[in-house]
Protein backbone atom coordinates (compact mmCIF):
# COMPACT_ATOMS: atom_id res chain seq x y z
CA UNK A 1 0.00 0.00 0.00
CA UNK A 2 1.39 3.41 -0.98
CA UNK A 3 0.30 6.34 1.15
CA UNK A 4 1.07 9.83 -0.08
CA UNK A 5 0.11 12.80 2.08
CA UNK A 6 0.61 16.53 1.57
CA UNK A 7 3.24 15.95 -1.10
CA UNK A 8 4.40 18.97 -3.08
CA UNK A 9 7.38 19.82 -5.21
CA UNK A 10 8.70 23.23 -6.22
CA UNK A 11 11.53 23.49 -8.71
CA UNK A 12 13.82 26.51 -8.52
CA UNK A 13 13.25 29.43 -6.21
CA UNK A 14 12.20 33.07 -6.23
CA UNK A 15 10.62 34.44 -9.40
CA UNK A 16 11.54 31.40 -11.48
CA UNK A 17 10.04 28.90 -9.01
CA UNK A 18 7.75 26.34 -10.60
CA UNK A 19 5.38 24.23 -8.52
CA UNK A 20 5.08 20.84 -10.20
CA UNK A 21 3.07 19.14 -7.44
CA UNK A 22 0.57 20.78 -5.08
CA UNK A 23 -0.60 19.00 -1.94
CA UNK A 24 -0.96 15.48 -3.35
CA UNK A 25 -2.95 13.11 -1.13
CA UNK A 26 -3.60 9.58 -2.37
CA UNK A 27 -3.62 6.02 -1.09
CA UNK A 28 -2.86 3.27 -3.59
CA UNK A 29 -4.01 -0.20 -2.55
CA UNK A 30 -2.06 -3.43 -2.77
CA UNK A 31 -2.39 -5.23 -6.10
CA UNK A 32 -4.10 -2.25 -7.69
CA UNK A 33 -3.68 -1.00 -11.25
CA UNK A 34 -3.55 2.72 -10.51
CA UNK A 35 -3.24 5.28 -13.31
CA UNK A 36 -2.08 8.88 -13.18
CA UNK A 37 -3.81 10.57 -16.11
CA UNK A 38 -3.32 14.11 -17.33
CA UNK A 39 -1.97 16.33 -20.11
CA UNK A 40 1.79 16.82 -20.47
CA UNK A 41 3.20 19.08 -17.78
CA UNK A 42 0.46 18.20 -15.27
CA UNK A 43 2.95 16.71 -12.78
CA UNK A 44 2.14 13.02 -13.27
CA UNK A 45 5.72 12.08 -14.17
CA UNK A 46 7.10 14.19 -11.33
CA UNK A 47 4.85 12.28 -8.93
CA UNK A 48 6.03 8.95 -10.36
CA UNK A 49 9.68 10.01 -10.10
CA UNK A 50 9.07 11.07 -6.50
CA UNK A 51 8.01 7.50 -5.74
CA UNK A 52 11.03 6.10 -7.61
CA UNK A 53 13.39 8.49 -5.83
CA UNK A 54 14.64 10.61 -8.73
CA UNK A 55 12.75 13.67 -7.52
CA UNK A 56 13.05 14.92 -3.98
CA UNK A 57 9.67 16.36 -2.86
CA UNK A 58 9.68 19.71 -1.08
CA UNK A 59 7.10 18.74 1.54
CA UNK A 60 4.88 15.81 2.48
CA UNK A 61 5.24 12.13 3.32
CA UNK A 62 5.40 8.99 1.22
CA UNK A 63 5.23 5.51 2.71
CA UNK A 64 5.13 2.04 1.20
CA UNK A 65 3.57 -0.55 3.51
CA UNK A 66 3.97 1.86 6.39
CA UNK A 67 7.66 2.43 5.79
CA UNK A 68 8.88 5.94 5.01
CA UNK A 69 10.81 5.86 1.74
CA UNK A 70 11.50 9.54 1.12
CA UNK A 71 14.67 9.30 3.19
CA UNK A 72 15.93 6.39 1.10
CA UNK A 73 18.00 6.61 -2.11
CA UNK A 74 16.49 5.06 -5.27
CA UNK A 75 18.47 1.82 -4.93
CA UNK A 76 17.05 1.15 -1.47
CA UNK A 77 13.39 1.53 -2.46
CA UNK A 78 11.22 -1.54 -3.12
CA UNK A 79 10.02 -0.16 -6.45
CA UNK A 80 11.13 -0.70 -10.05
CA UNK A 81 10.48 1.54 -13.02
CA UNK A 82 9.69 0.90 -16.68
CA UNK A 83 11.12 3.99 -18.36
CA UNK A 84 9.48 5.80 -21.24
CA UNK A 85 12.49 5.18 -23.49
CA UNK A 86 12.99 1.73 -21.87
CA UNK A 87 16.60 2.62 -20.84
CA UNK A 88 17.88 -0.87 -21.65
CA UNK A 89 21.61 -1.33 -21.12
CA UNK A 90 23.07 -1.39 -24.65
CA UNK A 91 26.22 -3.27 -23.63
CA UNK A 92 24.30 -6.24 -22.21
CA UNK A 93 22.23 -9.02 -23.72
CA UNK A 94 18.50 -9.39 -23.15
CA UNK A 95 19.10 -11.97 -20.41
CA UNK A 96 21.78 -9.83 -18.72
CA UNK A 97 19.42 -6.87 -18.74
CA UNK A 98 16.65 -8.87 -17.09
CA UNK A 99 19.05 -10.29 -14.49
CA UNK A 100 20.59 -6.92 -13.61
CA UNK A 101 18.37 -6.13 -10.63
CA UNK A 102 18.86 -9.58 -9.14
CA UNK A 103 22.61 -9.32 -9.67
CA UNK A 104 22.65 -6.01 -7.81
CA UNK A 105 20.78 -7.69 -4.96
CA UNK A 106 23.55 -10.31 -4.83
CA UNK A 107 21.15 -13.21 -5.36
CA UNK A 108 22.79 -16.60 -6.01
CA UNK A 109 23.74 -17.32 -9.64
CA UNK A 110 21.39 -20.31 -9.89
CA UNK A 111 18.43 -18.26 -8.67
CA UNK A 112 19.19 -15.43 -11.10
CA UNK A 113 19.30 -17.92 -13.95
CA UNK A 114 15.97 -19.50 -13.08
CA UNK A 115 14.19 -16.18 -12.46
CA UNK A 116 15.52 -14.78 -15.75
CA UNK A 117 14.24 -17.93 -17.47
CA UNK A 118 10.81 -17.46 -15.92
CA UNK A 119 10.73 -13.80 -16.89
CA UNK A 120 11.74 -14.53 -20.48
CA UNK A 121 8.89 -16.98 -20.66
CA UNK A 122 6.45 -14.55 -19.03
CA UNK A 123 7.09 -11.94 -21.73
CA UNK A 124 7.55 -14.54 -24.48
CA UNK A 125 11.15 -13.62 -25.26
CA UNK A 126 12.91 -16.94 -24.52
CA UNK A 127 14.32 -17.17 -28.06
CA UNK A 128 15.87 -13.71 -27.81
CA UNK A 129 17.78 -14.26 -24.54
CA UNK A 130 21.25 -13.86 -26.04
CA UNK A 131 20.52 -11.01 -28.44
CA UNK A 132 21.90 -7.56 -27.78
CA UNK A 133 19.16 -5.03 -27.04
CA UNK A 134 19.99 -3.15 -30.26
CA UNK A 135 19.07 -6.24 -32.28
CA UNK A 136 15.43 -6.46 -31.20
CA UNK A 137 12.34 -4.47 -32.23
CA UNK A 138 10.67 -1.70 -30.25
CA UNK A 139 7.89 -3.95 -29.01
CA UNK A 140 10.42 -6.55 -27.90
CA UNK A 141 12.48 -3.89 -26.11
CA UNK A 142 9.30 -2.92 -24.30
CA UNK A 143 8.85 -6.51 -23.12
CA UNK A 144 12.46 -6.72 -21.96
CA UNK A 145 12.11 -3.46 -20.02
CA UNK A 146 9.01 -4.89 -18.38
CA UNK A 147 10.68 -8.20 -17.53
CA UNK A 148 13.75 -6.40 -16.16
CA UNK A 149 11.59 -4.32 -13.81
CA UNK A 150 9.47 -7.30 -12.74
CA UNK A 151 12.34 -9.75 -12.16
CA UNK A 152 13.31 -8.57 -8.64
CA UNK A 153 9.60 -8.84 -7.65
CA UNK A 154 9.21 -5.24 -6.48
CA UNK A 155 6.34 -4.25 -4.23
CA UNK A 156 5.39 -1.54 -6.70
CA UNK A 157 5.98 -1.30 -10.45
CA UNK A 158 6.13 2.23 -11.85
CA UNK A 159 5.38 2.66 -15.55
CA UNK A 160 6.20 5.99 -17.21
CA UNK A 161 4.13 6.17 -20.44
CA UNK A 162 5.62 2.84 -21.51
CA UNK A 163 3.36 2.38 -24.53
CA UNK A 164 3.69 5.81 -26.11
CA UNK A 165 6.51 4.79 -28.47
CA UNK A 166 4.63 1.81 -29.91
CA UNK A 167 2.39 1.86 -32.96
CA UNK A 168 -1.37 1.59 -32.56
CA UNK A 169 -1.82 -2.16 -33.00
CA UNK A 170 1.13 -3.09 -30.78
CA UNK A 171 -0.12 -0.66 -28.14
CA UNK A 172 -3.50 -2.41 -28.03
CA UNK A 173 -1.75 -5.77 -27.63
CA UNK A 174 0.53 -4.47 -24.87
CA UNK A 175 -2.44 -3.00 -22.98
CA UNK A 176 -3.93 -6.46 -22.67
CA UNK A 177 -0.48 -7.91 -21.96
CA UNK A 178 0.12 -5.45 -19.12
CA UNK A 179 -3.25 -6.24 -17.57
CA UNK A 180 -2.42 -9.97 -17.74
CA UNK A 181 1.04 -9.45 -16.18
CA UNK A 182 -0.43 -7.43 -13.37
CA UNK A 183 -3.00 -10.13 -12.62
CA UNK A 184 -0.37 -12.90 -12.80
CA UNK A 185 2.25 -11.22 -10.64
CA UNK A 186 -0.05 -9.53 -8.12
CA UNK A 187 2.23 -6.49 -8.03
CA UNK A 188 0.84 -2.97 -7.57
CA UNK A 189 1.14 -1.03 -10.84
CA UNK A 190 1.35 2.76 -10.93
CA UNK A 191 0.89 3.74 -14.56
CA UNK A 192 1.41 7.19 -16.05
CA UNK A 193 -0.31 8.15 -19.29
CA UNK A 194 -1.85 11.08 -21.15
CA UNK A 195 -4.06 8.73 -23.17
CA UNK A 196 -7.58 8.69 -21.67
CA UNK A 197 -8.60 5.56 -23.55
CA UNK A 198 -5.56 3.68 -22.25
CA UNK A 199 -6.43 4.81 -18.73
CA UNK A 200 -10.10 3.78 -19.02
CA UNK A 201 -9.42 0.31 -20.44
CA UNK A 202 -6.61 -0.75 -18.09
CA UNK A 203 -7.05 0.86 -14.69
CA UNK A 204 -8.71 -0.21 -11.47
CA UNK A 205 -8.66 3.43 -10.43
CA UNK A 206 -7.60 6.65 -12.15
CA UNK A 207 -6.30 9.89 -10.68
CA UNK A 208 -6.92 12.76 -13.11
CA UNK A 209 -4.25 15.43 -12.74
CA UNK A 210 -3.88 18.98 -14.00
CA UNK A 211 -1.48 21.79 -13.11
CA UNK A 212 0.17 19.83 -10.31
CA UNK A 213 -3.05 18.81 -8.54
CA UNK A 214 -5.12 15.66 -8.43
CA UNK A 215 -8.63 16.72 -9.51
CA UNK A 216 -10.50 13.45 -9.09
CA UNK A 217 -9.79 9.86 -8.12
CA UNK A 218 -12.15 7.04 -9.03
CA UNK A 219 -12.84 3.96 -11.10
CA UNK A 220 -12.94 4.37 -14.91
CA UNK A 221 -16.76 4.26 -14.98
CA UNK A 222 -17.01 6.64 -12.06
CA UNK A 223 -14.67 9.16 -13.70
CA UNK A 224 -16.44 8.91 -17.05
CA UNK A 225 -20.01 8.98 -15.78
CA UNK A 226 -19.53 11.40 -12.92
CA UNK A 227 -16.77 13.88 -13.71
CA UNK A 228 -16.44 16.28 -10.80
CA UNK A 229 -14.84 19.20 -12.59
CA UNK A 230 -15.06 20.82 -15.97
CA UNK A 231 -11.44 19.83 -16.73
CA UNK A 232 -12.12 16.15 -16.01
CA UNK A 233 -15.31 16.12 -18.07
CA UNK A 234 -13.52 17.84 -20.94
CA UNK A 235 -10.30 15.77 -20.81
CA UNK A 236 -12.03 12.38 -20.71
CA UNK A 237 -14.43 11.75 -23.56
CA UNK A 238 -16.64 14.36 -25.24
CA UNK A 239 -19.04 16.46 -23.21
CA UNK A 240 -21.69 19.13 -23.64
CA UNK A 241 -21.61 21.90 -21.06
CA UNK A 242 -24.97 23.49 -20.24
CA UNK A 243 -25.49 26.44 -17.92
CA UNK A 244 -28.29 26.43 -15.38
CA UNK A 245 -29.33 27.37 -11.89
CA UNK A 246 -29.81 25.08 -8.90
CA UNK A 247 -33.36 25.27 -7.58
CA UNK A 248 -33.65 22.49 -5.03
CA UNK A 249 -31.26 19.89 -3.61
CA UNK A 250 -32.24 16.48 -2.30
CA UNK A 251 -29.28 14.30 -1.39
CA UNK A 252 -27.25 13.52 -4.48
CA UNK A 253 -29.81 14.87 -6.93
CA UNK A 254 -30.65 18.47 -7.58
CA UNK A 255 -33.23 20.30 -9.62
CA UNK A 256 -31.54 22.55 -12.11
CA UNK A 257 -33.37 25.13 -14.20
CA UNK A 258 -31.84 25.48 -17.66
CA UNK A 259 -31.79 28.73 -19.61
CA UNK A 260 -34.71 27.44 -21.64
CA UNK A 261 -36.76 27.53 -18.43
CA UNK A 262 -37.08 23.74 -18.28
CA UNK A 263 -36.13 22.07 -14.99
CA UNK A 264 -34.04 18.88 -15.05
CA UNK A 265 -32.93 16.41 -12.45
CA UNK A 266 -29.13 16.41 -12.28
CA UNK A 267 -26.72 14.40 -10.15
CA UNK A 268 -24.55 16.21 -7.67
CA UNK A 269 -22.20 13.53 -6.32
CA UNK A 270 -18.97 15.49 -6.34
CA UNK A 271 -20.12 18.24 -4.02
CA UNK A 272 -20.88 21.02 -6.50
CA UNK A 273 -22.79 24.20 -5.73
CA UNK A 274 -26.14 23.68 -3.93
CA UNK A 275 -27.59 26.97 -5.08
CA UNK A 276 -27.02 29.62 -7.71
CA UNK A 277 -25.58 29.23 -11.21
CA UNK A 278 -23.87 25.94 -12.14
CA UNK A 279 -22.57 24.13 -15.19
CA UNK A 280 -23.89 20.65 -15.91
CA UNK A 281 -22.20 18.11 -18.18
CA UNK A 282 -24.11 15.81 -20.55
CA UNK A 283 -22.33 13.13 -22.64
CA UNK A 284 -23.34 13.20 -26.38
CA UNK A 285 -24.45 9.54 -26.28
CA UNK A 286 -26.74 10.22 -23.29
CA UNK A 287 -28.82 12.81 -25.15
CA UNK A 288 -31.25 12.47 -28.06
CA UNK A 289 -33.07 14.55 -30.64
CA UNK A 290 -36.79 15.29 -30.36
CA UNK A 291 -39.35 17.57 -31.91
CA UNK A 292 -39.03 21.25 -30.90
CA UNK A 293 -40.11 21.71 -27.29
CA UNK A 294 -37.37 19.54 -25.71
CA UNK A 295 -35.24 20.46 -22.73
CA UNK A 296 -33.20 22.69 -25.02
CA UNK A 297 -34.36 23.89 -28.44
CA UNK A 298 -32.29 24.80 -31.46
CA UNK A 299 -31.50 24.31 -35.12
CA UNK A 300 -29.77 21.25 -36.57
CA UNK A 301 -26.55 22.62 -38.01
CA UNK A 302 -24.61 19.54 -39.03
CA UNK A 303 -25.07 15.79 -39.48
CA UNK A 304 -21.82 13.83 -39.51
CA UNK A 305 -21.80 10.12 -40.35
CA UNK A 306 -19.07 8.13 -38.50
CA UNK A 307 -19.96 4.56 -39.43
CA UNK A 308 -20.72 3.19 -35.98
CA UNK A 309 -22.62 6.31 -35.04
CA UNK A 310 -23.86 9.66 -36.32
CA UNK A 311 -23.16 13.03 -34.69
CA UNK A 312 -25.80 15.76 -34.73
CA UNK A 313 -24.61 19.30 -34.03
CA UNK A 314 -27.43 21.43 -32.67
CA UNK A 315 -27.09 25.21 -32.56
CA UNK A 316 -29.09 25.95 -29.43
CA UNK A 317 -31.23 29.08 -29.12
CA UNK A 318 -28.83 30.58 -26.58
CA UNK A 319 -25.99 30.35 -29.13
CA UNK A 320 -23.91 27.37 -27.98
CA UNK A 321 -23.45 24.04 -29.74
CA UNK A 322 -24.84 20.80 -28.34
CA UNK A 323 -23.58 17.50 -29.79
CA UNK A 324 -25.73 14.35 -29.85
CA UNK A 325 -24.41 10.92 -30.76
CA UNK A 326 -26.74 8.22 -32.07
CA UNK A 327 -25.73 4.63 -32.72
CA UNK A 328 -26.42 3.65 -36.34
CA UNK A 329 -28.67 0.77 -37.37
CA UNK A 330 -28.16 -1.07 -40.67
CA UNK A 331 -30.10 0.45 -43.59
CA UNK A 332 -31.74 3.07 -41.39
CA UNK A 333 -32.97 6.11 -43.31
CA UNK A 334 -31.75 9.46 -41.98
CA UNK A 335 -34.88 11.07 -40.56
CA UNK A 336 -33.42 14.53 -39.95
CA UNK A 337 -32.03 17.19 -42.19
CA UNK A 338 -29.77 20.19 -41.67
CA UNK A 339 -31.63 23.43 -40.90
CA UNK A 340 -34.51 21.65 -39.18
CA UNK A 341 -35.84 22.98 -35.88
CA UNK A 342 -35.23 20.34 -33.21
CA UNK A 343 -35.28 19.79 -29.47
CA UNK A 344 -32.67 18.13 -27.25
CA UNK A 345 -33.74 15.68 -24.55
CA UNK A 346 -31.97 13.53 -22.03
CA UNK A 347 -33.11 11.35 -19.17
CA UNK A 348 -33.28 12.42 -15.55
CA UNK A 349 -29.97 11.87 -13.81
CA UNK A 350 -27.61 11.78 -16.81
CA UNK A 351 -26.66 15.44 -16.34
CA UNK A 352 -23.82 15.93 -13.88
CA UNK A 353 -23.30 19.11 -11.84
CA UNK A 354 -19.63 20.19 -12.06
CA UNK A 355 -17.62 21.67 -9.25
CA UNK A 356 -16.06 24.97 -10.28
Amino acid sequence: MIEIAGLSKTFGSGASAFTALKDINVTIQENEFFTLLGPSGCGKTTLLRSIAGFVDPSTGTLTINGEDILSKPPFARPVNTVFQNYALFPHMTVAENIGFGLEMQDRPKAEIKSVVGDMLELVQMTQMADRMTSQISGGQQQRVALARALAPKPEVLLLDEPLSALDFKLRKEMQIELKRLQAETGITFVFVTHDQEEALTMSDRIAVMNAGRILQIGGPKDIYDHPAERFVADFIGDTNFVDGEVKKVAGETAQVQLQSGKVIKARNVAGGATSGPVTVAVRPEHADLSAPGGLIDGTLKNIIYFGTDTHYHVQTDDGSTFVIRRQNQPDAVEAHEVGEKVGVTFNAGVAQILRD
Partner: protein, 273 residues
Protein backbone atom coordinates in the same frame (compact mmCIF):
# COMPACT_ATOMS: atom_id res chain seq x y z
CA UNK B 1 19.75 24.33 -69.66
CA UNK B 2 21.63 25.64 -66.67
CA UNK B 3 20.80 23.79 -63.52
CA UNK B 4 19.93 25.89 -60.49
CA UNK B 5 22.51 25.03 -57.88
CA UNK B 6 22.90 26.07 -54.26
CA UNK B 7 25.93 27.71 -52.72
CA UNK B 8 28.90 25.36 -52.50
CA UNK B 9 32.15 26.61 -51.03
CA UNK B 10 34.08 24.13 -53.16
CA UNK B 11 33.15 26.03 -56.31
CA UNK B 12 34.39 29.40 -55.08
CA UNK B 13 37.35 30.90 -56.97
CA UNK B 14 40.66 29.98 -55.44
CA UNK B 15 39.25 27.41 -53.04
CA UNK B 16 41.39 24.59 -54.34
CA UNK B 17 44.49 26.80 -54.35
CA UNK B 18 44.06 27.91 -50.71
CA UNK B 19 43.32 24.37 -49.59
CA UNK B 20 46.39 23.04 -51.37
CA UNK B 21 48.58 25.76 -49.82
CA UNK B 22 47.38 24.81 -46.35
CA UNK B 23 48.03 21.13 -46.86
CA UNK B 24 51.44 21.78 -48.38
CA UNK B 25 52.40 24.02 -45.44
CA UNK B 26 51.24 21.37 -42.99
CA UNK B 27 52.60 18.24 -44.55
CA UNK B 28 55.54 19.12 -46.83
CA UNK B 29 57.97 19.68 -43.91
CA UNK B 30 56.85 16.44 -42.31
CA UNK B 31 57.23 14.54 -45.57
CA UNK B 32 60.73 15.98 -46.04
CA UNK B 33 61.60 15.04 -42.46
CA UNK B 34 60.53 11.48 -43.09
CA UNK B 35 62.32 11.31 -46.45
CA UNK B 36 65.63 12.62 -45.07
CA UNK B 37 65.52 10.17 -42.19
CA UNK B 38 66.44 7.61 -44.88
CA UNK B 39 69.35 9.68 -46.19
CA UNK B 40 72.62 7.77 -46.34
CA UNK B 41 74.68 10.95 -45.93
CA UNK B 42 74.99 12.90 -42.70
CA UNK B 43 73.29 16.04 -43.98
CA UNK B 44 69.62 16.86 -43.38
CA UNK B 45 69.51 18.96 -46.54
CA UNK B 46 71.49 17.11 -49.22
CA UNK B 47 70.16 13.76 -50.44
CA UNK B 48 72.88 11.17 -50.92
CA UNK B 49 70.97 7.92 -51.27
CA UNK B 50 68.70 5.56 -49.38
CA UNK B 51 69.80 3.90 -46.16
CA UNK B 52 68.45 2.78 -42.79
CA UNK B 53 71.66 3.59 -41.02
CA UNK B 54 70.31 6.47 -38.93
CA UNK B 55 67.58 4.23 -37.56
CA UNK B 56 70.24 1.65 -36.66
CA UNK B 57 72.40 4.32 -35.07
CA UNK B 58 69.49 5.71 -33.06
CA UNK B 59 68.57 2.20 -31.98
CA UNK B 60 72.11 1.50 -30.77
CA UNK B 61 72.52 4.88 -29.09
CA UNK B 62 72.39 4.32 -25.31
CA UNK B 63 71.30 7.87 -24.68
CA UNK B 64 68.38 7.51 -27.08
CA UNK B 65 67.42 4.23 -25.45
CA UNK B 66 67.51 5.76 -21.96
CA UNK B 67 65.56 8.82 -23.06
CA UNK B 68 62.94 6.64 -24.79
CA UNK B 69 62.43 4.48 -21.72
CA UNK B 70 62.18 7.56 -19.50
CA UNK B 71 59.68 9.19 -21.89
CA UNK B 72 57.52 6.08 -21.92
CA UNK B 73 57.57 5.69 -18.14
CA UNK B 74 56.59 9.32 -17.64
CA UNK B 75 53.93 9.25 -20.37
CA UNK B 76 52.36 6.04 -19.01
CA UNK B 77 52.28 7.24 -15.41
CA UNK B 78 51.14 10.74 -16.33
CA UNK B 79 48.35 9.57 -18.63
CA UNK B 80 47.14 7.11 -15.99
CA UNK B 81 47.07 9.71 -13.22
CA UNK B 82 45.65 12.44 -15.46
CA UNK B 83 42.92 10.17 -16.86
CA UNK B 84 41.85 8.98 -13.40
CA UNK B 85 41.65 12.56 -12.18
CA UNK B 86 39.85 13.61 -15.36
CA UNK B 87 37.21 10.87 -14.97
CA UNK B 88 36.48 12.04 -11.43
CA UNK B 89 36.43 15.69 -12.50
CA UNK B 90 34.11 14.90 -15.41
CA UNK B 91 31.73 12.97 -13.14
CA UNK B 92 31.72 15.83 -10.65
CA UNK B 93 30.92 18.39 -13.34
CA UNK B 94 28.25 16.43 -15.22
CA UNK B 95 26.58 14.06 -12.75
CA UNK B 96 25.83 16.44 -9.88
CA UNK B 97 23.17 19.09 -9.46
CA UNK B 98 24.23 22.54 -10.61
CA UNK B 99 26.19 23.96 -7.73
CA UNK B 100 27.42 27.44 -6.96
CA UNK B 101 30.69 28.06 -8.77
CA UNK B 102 30.43 25.09 -11.13
CA UNK B 103 31.40 27.39 -14.00
CA UNK B 104 34.47 28.45 -12.03
CA UNK B 105 35.43 24.82 -11.42
CA UNK B 106 35.08 24.09 -15.13
CA UNK B 107 37.33 27.06 -15.94
CA UNK B 108 39.91 25.98 -13.36
CA UNK B 109 40.12 22.44 -14.72
CA UNK B 110 40.81 23.82 -18.20
CA UNK B 111 43.09 26.63 -17.09
CA UNK B 112 46.35 24.75 -17.90
CA UNK B 113 45.33 25.06 -21.57
CA UNK B 114 45.20 28.84 -21.24
CA UNK B 115 48.16 29.61 -18.98
CA UNK B 116 51.34 30.12 -21.05
CA UNK B 117 53.37 26.94 -20.73
CA UNK B 118 56.51 28.85 -19.87
CA UNK B 119 54.75 30.34 -16.83
CA UNK B 120 53.74 26.90 -15.59
CA UNK B 121 57.28 25.69 -16.24
CA UNK B 122 58.92 28.49 -14.23
CA UNK B 123 56.39 28.13 -11.41
CA UNK B 124 57.00 24.39 -11.21
CA UNK B 125 60.78 24.90 -11.32
CA UNK B 126 60.64 27.24 -8.33
CA UNK B 127 58.11 25.15 -6.43
CA UNK B 128 60.04 21.90 -6.92
CA UNK B 129 63.30 23.67 -6.05
CA UNK B 130 61.79 24.56 -2.69
CA UNK B 131 60.73 20.98 -2.10
CA UNK B 132 64.15 19.74 -3.16
CA UNK B 133 65.74 21.99 -0.53
CA UNK B 134 63.62 20.49 2.23
CA UNK B 135 63.55 16.85 1.15
CA UNK B 136 66.65 16.42 -0.94
CA UNK B 137 64.64 14.18 -3.30
CA UNK B 138 65.74 14.47 -6.92
CA UNK B 139 63.96 11.49 -8.51
CA UNK B 140 61.54 11.02 -11.35
CA UNK B 141 58.36 11.97 -9.47
CA UNK B 142 58.74 15.69 -10.12
CA UNK B 143 58.41 15.02 -13.85
CA UNK B 144 55.52 12.58 -13.43
CA UNK B 145 53.59 15.00 -11.24
CA UNK B 146 54.24 17.92 -13.57
CA UNK B 147 53.17 15.94 -16.64
CA UNK B 148 50.08 14.57 -14.88
CA UNK B 149 49.02 18.09 -13.99
CA UNK B 150 49.19 19.61 -17.46
CA UNK B 151 47.69 16.49 -19.08
CA UNK B 152 44.46 16.61 -17.02
CA UNK B 153 42.54 19.07 -19.24
CA UNK B 154 43.46 17.08 -22.35
CA UNK B 155 42.10 13.89 -20.79
CA UNK B 156 39.11 15.75 -19.32
CA UNK B 157 37.71 17.10 -22.59
CA UNK B 158 36.80 13.84 -24.41
CA UNK B 159 35.62 12.17 -21.19
CA UNK B 160 33.31 15.02 -20.33
CA UNK B 161 31.98 15.16 -23.89
CA UNK B 162 31.19 11.44 -23.76
CA UNK B 163 29.49 11.73 -20.34
CA UNK B 164 27.33 14.60 -21.54
CA UNK B 165 26.23 12.62 -24.58
CA UNK B 166 25.29 9.57 -22.50
CA UNK B 167 21.67 8.76 -21.72
CA UNK B 168 21.15 9.65 -18.05
CA UNK B 169 18.16 7.31 -17.79
CA UNK B 170 20.50 4.30 -18.07
CA UNK B 171 22.17 5.23 -14.81
CA UNK B 172 18.79 5.95 -13.25
CA UNK B 173 17.54 2.56 -14.39
CA UNK B 174 20.57 0.90 -12.80
CA UNK B 175 20.02 2.78 -9.53
CA UNK B 176 16.34 1.88 -9.69
CA UNK B 177 17.36 -1.79 -9.99
CA UNK B 178 19.15 -1.67 -6.63
CA UNK B 179 22.56 -0.61 -7.97
CA UNK B 180 24.56 1.35 -5.39
CA UNK B 181 26.39 4.39 -6.84
CA UNK B 182 29.74 2.58 -7.10
CA UNK B 183 28.24 -0.47 -8.81
CA UNK B 184 26.22 1.72 -11.17
CA UNK B 185 29.47 3.42 -12.14
CA UNK B 186 31.30 0.13 -12.67
CA UNK B 187 28.52 -1.80 -14.42
CA UNK B 188 26.78 0.88 -16.47
CA UNK B 189 28.61 4.22 -16.58
CA UNK B 190 32.15 2.96 -17.16
CA UNK B 191 31.36 0.50 -19.98
CA UNK B 192 29.55 3.33 -21.79
CA UNK B 193 32.27 5.82 -20.98
CA UNK B 194 35.11 3.59 -22.14
CA UNK B 195 35.73 5.17 -25.59
CA UNK B 196 35.96 8.58 -23.91
CA UNK B 197 38.39 7.29 -21.29
CA UNK B 198 40.57 5.72 -23.98
CA UNK B 199 40.54 8.89 -26.06
CA UNK B 200 41.48 10.93 -23.02
CA UNK B 201 44.28 8.58 -22.03
CA UNK B 202 45.75 8.50 -25.54
CA UNK B 203 45.60 12.26 -25.85
CA UNK B 204 47.32 12.66 -22.47
CA UNK B 205 49.94 10.07 -23.50
CA UNK B 206 50.82 11.87 -26.72
CA UNK B 207 50.85 15.30 -25.04
CA UNK B 208 53.17 14.03 -22.33
CA UNK B 209 55.41 12.25 -24.83
CA UNK B 210 56.25 15.37 -26.80
CA UNK B 211 56.43 17.99 -24.06
CA UNK B 212 59.62 20.04 -24.11
CA UNK B 213 59.17 23.28 -22.22
CA UNK B 214 57.97 22.03 -18.83
CA UNK B 215 60.23 18.98 -18.94
CA UNK B 216 63.26 21.11 -19.72
CA UNK B 217 62.61 23.28 -16.66
CA UNK B 218 61.61 20.55 -14.21
CA UNK B 219 64.08 17.76 -15.06
CA UNK B 220 67.06 17.09 -12.86
CA UNK B 221 70.50 16.49 -14.29
CA UNK B 222 70.64 13.40 -16.50
CA UNK B 223 66.87 13.07 -16.78
CA UNK B 224 66.52 13.45 -20.52
CA UNK B 225 63.28 12.54 -22.24
CA UNK B 226 63.27 11.96 -26.00
CA UNK B 227 62.25 15.53 -26.90
CA UNK B 228 64.77 17.17 -24.55
CA UNK B 229 67.49 14.82 -25.83
CA UNK B 230 66.67 15.84 -29.40
CA UNK B 231 66.73 19.49 -28.44
CA UNK B 232 70.17 18.95 -26.93
CA UNK B 233 71.36 17.19 -30.09
CA UNK B 234 70.22 19.96 -32.37
CA UNK B 235 72.35 22.44 -30.45
CA UNK B 236 75.43 20.45 -31.37
CA UNK B 237 75.46 18.63 -34.65
CA UNK B 238 72.31 17.97 -36.62
CA UNK B 239 72.26 14.55 -38.28
CA UNK B 240 69.40 12.57 -39.81
CA UNK B 241 69.36 10.62 -36.54
CA UNK B 242 66.99 13.31 -35.23
CA UNK B 243 64.82 12.77 -38.33
CA UNK B 244 64.76 9.05 -37.65
CA UNK B 245 63.65 9.50 -34.04
CA UNK B 246 61.01 12.04 -35.10
CA UNK B 247 59.70 9.67 -37.75
CA UNK B 248 59.30 6.92 -35.17
CA UNK B 249 57.46 9.29 -32.83
CA UNK B 250 55.24 10.26 -35.74
CA UNK B 251 54.54 6.61 -36.53
CA UNK B 252 53.60 5.93 -32.90
CA UNK B 253 51.09 8.79 -32.76
CA UNK B 254 49.55 7.88 -36.11
CA UNK B 255 49.22 4.29 -34.90
CA UNK B 256 47.53 5.50 -31.70
CA UNK B 257 45.05 7.61 -33.64
CA UNK B 258 44.17 4.72 -35.96
CA UNK B 259 43.87 2.29 -33.05
CA UNK B 260 41.55 4.67 -31.24
CA UNK B 261 39.45 5.24 -34.34
CA UNK B 262 38.98 1.51 -34.91
CA UNK B 263 38.23 0.90 -31.25
CA UNK B 264 35.67 3.67 -30.92
CA UNK B 265 33.96 2.47 -34.08
CA UNK B 266 33.60 -1.00 -32.62
CA UNK B 267 32.25 0.23 -29.29
CA UNK B 268 29.86 2.56 -31.05
CA UNK B 269 28.41 -0.33 -33.00
CA UNK B 270 27.76 -2.38 -29.88
CA UNK B 271 26.26 0.52 -27.96
CA UNK B 272 24.17 1.95 -30.78
CA UNK B 273 20.44 1.61 -30.28
Amino acid sequence: MAKARGFDIRRQNGFVFVALCCFVMLYLPIILLVVYSFNSGSSIAIWEGFSLKWYALAWQNDKVQDATILSLIIACCASFVATSAAVMAALATTRTNKFRGSALVFAMINQPLMIPEIVTAVALLIFFAMIKVYTGYTGLWYLIIAHSAFCIPFAYMPIRARLQGMDLSLEQAAADLYGTPWRVFRKVTLPQLWPGVLAGAMLAFVISLDDVVITEFVKSAGQDTLPTYMLGQIRRVVTPEVNAISTILLAISVALVIAFYKLSQRTDQSTKK
